[in-house]
């Protein structure tokens, strides 16, 4: 059903910069935000409103394409299950691996019999009640393998994997069935977010070989994906990141095998993470060699490219800028590229981050120039955060409040990330200068539906609370009504015409104003011209 324009549900779409017209740059920087804003660790990691507010402020200071901040995403589930965390004075909380929740079968049984209150356990309520959780568009969780590490400790889990597989499978099944699937479901119901992203740094090379990950971890990622699909949510696990420390050990074959693991953990979508390793030194040709088969098939490969945390801290600026330029030159033109500043070290100089952002926004301006060397890069000089904050806090906070009002929840957020850039398209502006159209994507099993409007050469997407009356009384030119799962299969062209007709006849799929819907498809196709 490509006539309506394919609605992608992948990470690349969520991480894109919407209508800004350049490659997006985001940051994973809880440590740095805390350090920069001089907020003690305990309130920063236990008061998510504070975390989000400070993160938003730092995000604006650096001109990032999303809020900075974030939290210890590897700890929350373990803490909610009763695991002990160490809250440092100045450091992010960590699981106390000296006292693992599971040491043997008996412990596992005890945990399985424990009733988990997903609305109220540990810091779960903070995730559910924080505006920032919705703004991210994603349900964040700790992936099955990393959660199992949190429950047992890495050495004991590996020992179980190699010498007591029954225990290993018991722990992994518990992680997926009893903890993650219900926790992600609660997040989806509360926030309306449609993408689940699992953090899985423990499952990476050289912690494990790609074969070990494929055999022992991927089946559980896929099991989780299947379970979550039942309630309309797509989960993706960031499993298989290649982070070999010794450059002399770099091996394209192992890299490609680890990419296979990533894709198998990403619902089969070609989405690659080049995040934790020494990507400023690894040869990028090895990545292009891998993505060639997808490109030949006309598939868009999403790449999230990380700037090495240590490079970012130690500099120099020229090397950071060169690294970003190198990524954009290699992937900016024929991949869906996002830059991420990976886990920015606490005491990283701010000028390093300003340089990274300026380089991304300058070299990453669409369409990407043929020769990046011809582009002049101006790195802004900004006052230190403390001074900048005194002068700008009230203005920025007011701006953030305004932006929050325009927040697009659920499907609307996802659509905006993909469709927003059409507003930069000249042809669209000209051809649809006098047009007025509206479309409703009604996801019947989700908290929010999405309303797309085209008026005077501008496209907008808004979320609509899925209460019966609001939806029923809406007058639109075209609409689709079905469950989230069916919607993505339908818009992604994943169901046959016969099956589509059958679903329409049985009322599972309702489409109105087909002609106008095709017009929307025409609009979106302008993006690929």
């Amino acid at each position: 059903m490509a006539q309506t324009g394919e609605v992608k549900k992948d990470l690349g779409s969520v991480l894109s910069a919407g209508d800004k017209g350049y490659i997006s740059i985001l940051a994973q920087c809880h440590d740095h935000v805390m350090y920069l804003a001089e907020v003690p660790a305990k309130p920063f990691f236990t008061d998510f409103n504070l975390n989000f507010e400070i993160g938003g402020l730092v995000g604006k200071y650096y001109d990032l394409d999303g809020p900075a901040g974030g939290y210890d995403s590897y700890d929350l589930e373990v803490e909610a299950l009763g695991g002990k965390l160490i809250y440092g004075e100045n450091s992010m909380p960590t699981i106390d691996f000296r006292q693992p929740l599971i040491k043997n079968y008996e412990d596992l049984e005890k945990l399985k019999n424990k009733k988990i209150d997903f609305q109220n356990a540990g810091r779960f309520p903070m995730i559910l009640n924080t505006k920032g959780s919705m703004a991210s568009g994603m349900c964040i969780f700790c992936s099955p393998f990393s959660l199992a590490v949190g429950l047992m400790g890495f050495p004991k889990l590996i020992r179980a994997m190699k010498k007591d597989p029954k225990l290993y499978h018991g722990v992994m099944s518990f992680a997926v069935d009893d903890v993650l699937a219900p926790w992600i479901r609660i997040q989806n119901e509360t926030t309306g977010n449609l993408l689940g992203i699992g953090a899985d740094a423990w499952a990476s090379v050289p912690n494990l070989s790609p074969k070990e990950m494929m055999d022992w971890i991927v089946p559980y990622n896929q099991r989780l994906e299947k379970k979550c699909k039942e309630f309309g949510l797509m989960t993706m696990n960031v499993t298989g990141d290649y982070c070999e420390e010794r450059l002399e050990k770099f091996d394209p074959k192992i890299l490609h095998d680890s990419f296979d693991v990533e894709i198998a953990s990403m619902g089969g979508q070609p989405a690659l993470f080049l995040v934790m390793g020494r990507w400023h030194e690894y040869p990028l040709k090895a990545v292009r060699d891998y993505t060639e088969k997808f490109r030949k098939e006309g598939k868009n490969v999403s790449i999230t490219a990380g700037i090495n945390a240590r490079l970012l801290r130690d500099g120099p600026i020229e090397k950071i800028v060169d690294n970003i330029k190198r990524f954009i030159d290699a992937f900016g033109r024929d991949h869906s590229l996002s830059i991420i500043l990976s886990n920015i070290p606490a005491d990283t100089p701010s000028e390093h981050i300003h340089a990274a952002v300026a380089a991304t926004h300058t070299y990453g301006k669409f369409p990407i120039a043929d020769n990046l060397d011809e582009i002049e890069l101006k790195i802004p000089t900004k006052k230190p955060f403390k001074e900048w904050r005194i002068e700008n806090e009230s203005i920025v906070k007011a701006k953030m409040k305004e932006e929050a009002k325009k927040e697009r929840c659920g499907l609307a957020g996802l659509l905006w990330q993909q469709m927003g850039q059409i507003n930069q398209n000249k042809k669209f502006k000209e051809n649809y200068a006098d047009a007025k159209m509206s479309f409703l994507y009604n996801l019947t099993d989700q908290r929010y539906s999405a309303l797309i409007t085209v008026e005077n050469g501008t496209l907008d997407v808004k979320h609509i609370e899925n209460d019966g009356d609001t939806i029923k009384n809406m007058v639109v030119d075209g609409s689709i009504a079905c469950t989230a799962s069916l919607f993505f299969d339908f818009t992604g062209g994943k169901i046959s015409k016969v099956s589509m007709l059958l679903k329409m006849l049985t009322g599972k799929l309702k489409v109105k104003g087909m002609k106008k819907m095709k017009e929307l498809g025409n609009i979106m196709s302008l993006l690929t011209e």
């Binding site: 960590t94 050495p155 912690n207 070989s209 070290p345 005491d347």
Partner: protein, 213 residues
Amino acid sequence: MTNLKILEDLKKAVLEGDDDIAQELAQKALEQDIEPMIIVNQGIIPGIQEAGELWKQNEYFHTDIILCAEAFRLAMEIIEPKLSAGERGSSGKIIIGTVAGDMHNLGKIMVNATLRGGGFEVIDLGEDVSKETFIQTIKEEKPDILGLGCYMTTTMLEMKEIVKQLENEGLRNSVKVLIGGVPCTQEFADEIKADAWGKDAFDAVEKAKEVMG
């Protein structure tokens, strides 16, 4: 079973991470009156050394090394009490620990094994070790090297404080400082005036030997 066969099997058990077998064979070797130092040098250490080679060749991953380290530890647990004082830690004495606020121990477990395999006497203070505990233990044990590990960029800064404290206490010249862990770099080691940075467990032994001269 011949002595040679026992030592070969012991090496294989350490290499393959068969901890129960490694412990059993170490015991058997003692019962067959093989010199403890020979058991260590011809059975246990070659196992961990070969694991290091396989690591460098991308044949081994952390999953293999962690099991190998455990087999090494259990075999050494049998043999170590039988070694004379002079035979233990002939390469030097090293205190290791993960700094305050940091609970990660994967790297330290591996470093513990590789250092011992490299002939060092290792005193492992565990995880979340305070600055005061490091300083007090240095005063009591007088090690040649202090090995500091961290996993987070915030706890990494604690290393700086420990080195400063060593200076304040007048201990800096009596102990070499070796650092390791995901966020560390040679630049950071230079910045905090550490003597060396080990990029992984096997590199840590090489660096420890280097700083010992």
